[in-house]
Symmetry: D2
Subunit: 368 residues, 4 copies
Amino acid sequence: MREDTIGRANVEDTPELERYYAELGRQESYALWTVANDIEPWQPKPASLPTVWRYEAMRPLVLKALDLVSPEKAGRRVIALENPGRKGTSACVGWLYSGLQVMRPGEFATAHSHASSALRFIIEGRGAYTVVDGHKMELNGGDFVITPNGTWHDHGVDAGGDTTIWQDGLDMLLVNQLDANFYAVHPEHVQKSNTPVDDTVALYGGPGLLPAGGEGWNKPYSPLFKYEWGRTYETLQKASKASDGSPYDGIMMQYVNPATGGPVMKTLGACIQLLRAGERTKAHRHTGSVVYTVAKGSGHSVIAGRRYDWKKNDIFVVPSWAWHEHANASDRDDAVLFSFSDIPSMKALDLYREEALAENGGQQTPVH
Amino acid sequence: MREDTIGRANVEDTPELERYYAELGRQESYALWTVANDIEPWQPKPASLPTVWRYEAMRPLVLKALDLVSPEKAGRRVIALENPGRKGTSACVGWLYSGLQVMRPGEFATAHSHASSALRFIIEGRGAYTVVDGHKMELNGGDFVITPNGTWHDHGVDAGGDTTIWQDGLDMLLVNQLDANFYAVHPEHVQKSNTPVDDTVALYGGPGLLPAGGEGWNKPYSPLFKYEWGRTYETLQKASKASDGSPYDGIMMQYVNPATGGPVMKTLGACIQLLRAGERTKAHRHTGSVVYTVAKGSGHSVIAGRRYDWKKNDIFVVPSWAWHEHANASDRDDAVLFSFSDIPSMKALDLYREEALAENGGQQTPVH
Amino acid sequence: MREDTIGRANVEDTPELERYYAELGRQESYALWTVANDIEPWQPKPASLPTVWRYEAMRPLVLKALDLVSPEKAGRRVIALENPGRKGTSACVGWLYSGLQVMRPGEFATAHSHASSALRFIIEGRGAYTVVDGHKMELNGGDFVITPNGTWHDHGVDAGGDTTIWQDGLDMLLVNQLDANFYAVHPEHVQKSNTPVDDTVALYGGPGLLPAGGEGWNKPYSPLFKYEWGRTYETLQKASKASDGSPYDGIMMQYVNPATGGPVMKTLGACIQLLRAGERTKAHRHTGSVVYTVAKGSGHSVIAGRRYDWKKNDIFVVPSWAWHEHANASDRDDAVLFSFSDIPSMKALDLYREEALAENGGQQTPVH
Amino acid sequence: MREDTIGRANVEDTPELERYYAELGRQESYALWTVANDIEPWQPKPASLPTVWRYEAMRPLVLKALDLVSPEKAGRRVIALENPGRKGTSACVGWLYSGLQVMRPGEFATAHSHASSALRFIIEGRGAYTVVDGHKMELNGGDFVITPNGTWHDHGVDAGGDTTIWQDGLDMLLVNQLDANFYAVHPEHVQKSNTPVDDTVALYGGPGLLPAGGEGWNKPYSPLFKYEWGRTYETLQKASKASDGSPYDGIMMQYVNPATGGPVMKTLGACIQLLRAGERTKAHRHTGSVVYTVAKGSGHSVIAGRRYDWKKNDIFVVPSWAWHEHANASDRDDAVLFSFSDIPSMKALDLYREEALAENGGQQTPVH
């Protein structure tokens, strides 16, 4: 791709150059100028497309898996989302993976660990649990749970619970791209829980309080493994009365590692945001790919100039550097979006950039 | 003070040396060996003494001040605590200052700022408030509030409230020792509160949540200015069911800066600890001076080998490097101790040391 | 790829499942168990192969480019290395890019900036220079130079200098994978140098000294833009007399940001290592891809069980998690390897792992 | 001290109040308003006075100690400096200690450690050494050496060396104020040096280079224990050609921990600054106390409005918040000032403040 700009490659193919390129190829080399304009883009050009996965379409497919495979055979019974612009990558946006996992009462997935970081957002059901490094947590709708890089984890649903669907989010495709993934199965298949249920919530979930008198937490992820929906939503509501929030995101909170104030894990972060009744935000764009799940209410987002409607439990994605803005469809009720992203990776590598839309009062004019 | 140990000073005075010392004095100098053993102690030798200030003795004295001075004349109407081993220093232990401030309904102290860091723990009353850099907070018993280094702050009690007593804690004597204190009065005498009441609690008091979408907090102190008693005590109770806590301190939580997980201010930290019914801790000692206030219940502490009984609202101090252990007097109810200390200063300067008592099952045998 | 291990996917295709998979595909989704074993590998499985690019083969090809394209047309006249296991990716190992750039006296490349981080190691020539954000540096053989993320940079060779060949290293392919690259051309085409030549070396190249009295350096990369070969080699020689070094790497030094002690840039790091006369190291492996350039001497490395011989100016690569060990061919002279890698990215994302070879005295038995 | 300003204490003594104050005193308490204006100063009011100790006066006194006490009896044979405004504190300025230690060839001081941090600047002599945690260093004029908090250290002069005088600087008086000092004698009296002489210089003294391949340095002080005069002065000279330096300090470099870019120790920092021929700086003031030693040349400083002349080896002090500016007396030669201070403590506790003199072209008009 030639470009007629000073500093960009603009070399015409000639027979002599083609012979030269062949000669280079035999030495496992190539002329930079033949690809430079492609590999040095003026700005990010993600192949990922904005996409909505509607829960009303996905739910029956997910439930159907209950009859088609057992967790033992499947490892984990998950229907995963693949971006239409990234066929064959297993990614839902950027290098993020996400899927919907389903379990019947009494089922469980065996304990394992991996170098990739995982998180879960509970969509529906009652009586599910996850055990992370021996700490058992009860899971209910809207709860957010992490299973960080290197931790043992297993999941299940109590015999007396409901069939449960939760959303998984992982960085494993990125970690694979970085040639850094590891996987291990736990010798016992199922971990013994050696502490009271939800102990990390009791110890690390107090407001502005951390356990004192010991060594302190120094692992590179949050010691708070579960963020309960009840206190999370209460916090959003209180914050909406105390602050105008962000022009681009309404009342948005980041789930943080309370021992550092940083993201819950090194590679993945997660946020929860409330759009007030009638709220429509302004557009901005940033590096980093984001997966949104509608936790409450309904509305639409304008992403890269097109409108995408959503309602509860729908999942949609915003590719890196795509303009995006959100609107609550209701004039009476708030709407809440859960999201996870690779923005912590961007920031750790000094690759985060952000820009507000200057034109048109800061809002896109969507193409219908 | 001569010592007969290799490496320690052991020089006998002679007439010749005394003449030499006088000669040195005329050049604003001295022989190190005349003071070396004193200024290089084997271990900390605090002049501060363990002391209890009983609220039943202090309260009438504090209330009496209401009739004796106005806040306008006094600046602030505070009865301060002075350690019996440190007469003339204005310090209650180490270089920590603490006092009991009293205000009638409708009174207020004018807005000012200083380079020293301050904190407040509410002892009794209803309807008090403090404003920190324009953020107004309502104060009730057991609430913990900070007014950090460099912030504007003013205090008062609403006309419809009660006469209120709170405890002040400051590092100002340390800051004076460091020749680094500054003081300023606000041009308006009373700050206008420009945000909803208790907004910092709404925004920064969520469990594992921080406001996202903006620049982030980067001041060297907590953005959460008030830690409410209700949620604090609830956290202690939950934690007591989830953990055995510390052998030396029971269920202890540090009030932290949620944006960093570190202490609320650079120089001063604060903790809250619950002693379970019947609990008696083991002894340890550490560098750093601590001021305790009994927030709930009664019991005793053994400090440097002596027993000190305490009950609600009493204040007591533990000097640096003094052995100390705590006991709850009740077999049915928990007891709670609020404390503040200069331990963050110790840690920032790499001067924190800690040691457990090895002998006698880890507990002191108090002298009665 | 089915695996018969508890916790791994092991589902046989059936007509019913195949219909189901097609149905999922229509909803932009897939069953995780069809790919799980591939995307959750037991350990890193890099497609990159260990490879040596011999300078005696590459040099004539690089010089030939002088006659085939102008820098104006090419943007930059670089012959880049492509890993035989990664055809079509433009990468020499992992997502690292490297190439050999050549310039005649009097030529220059115009000023530009990008979000990717770049570094240069000077192979041969005299009179080259680079200008980074207005700071001009003279470049000679063995010098190491950085042009960090976001800085303006342009390069050239003085009219009185030699035809110069240097090696470029960039993270741009990784940054593209992360959808985070930006490119800009400088309005002036060539930057004016506004400070004395090599000023960053004068100011930040002192041993254990940093400029005081100003604001301090707070950009996320090293303020020392050039690391001179002379002082670098002198440091290696001194260190070889003061330390046994690393069993895996001999006397190895990391080029660091003197303002933090961390890597020179957030994504890329660089090291220089001396193998003493006769030295043969032990094998280890780690996550992260490494590109080595032979700065002095000759020897061989055993990588993933095969021996690769090298001599001065050869370039070779070690993929992530490949066992590797190095040997100096000479019993009299030292050998020196320059290397750059994405290890800082691995560490920033908590993905760095390292392992020593336990068997066979810690050394591989190469297949010939 | 009453003040007639809103917000300041302004209470007249009355018989009733005096009875009240006595009553408070019996409860180990006092009325804040009786001392508030003193303990909350408008700005730092150091008792320390600017002072010069002339080496021509001190040197004979220091040498005289050789005949009066042995190192065995004295512990260390040091003549220490005491600020005329701080009689009885053993401090030369603020809570900084400094003294001149003298040793004959063949003498030594036994190995010990303390929680206070120490540094040394070599004034005159040849053949001295210090051993820090087993690392032996040879000391010559102008070398700067640290013996951090908690390290074992012993000193001596080789039998074939000269009588040596060096300056000691310690934070021990501050550490005593913080009730945090510890002292221990080494079981062997003299440490065995277990590494090559000056190994920390070889390993950590390279420009922008740190040892790689191991665990990395994580102690809270510099791994580079000695900063050699030769390279230090060379760095100043290079920097003077590359930068205009600071308007207040000329070409000033901070001695840093190369593993962090921070100060050499947590409590104490040190700088070296070159005043170019004819240079006269502007005045500023800051919190933190500074002890200067003239390493080269002569000149004067204006401190708090008075002029203090100095020449090689003189020592002078600038109290906290005192205006100060420096002038080189020579129009041909540079002058160099070594200094150490407690500024790192100020910064760690967020107490550092700095201000430039606005009036009179930024320079004081000294009173003669």
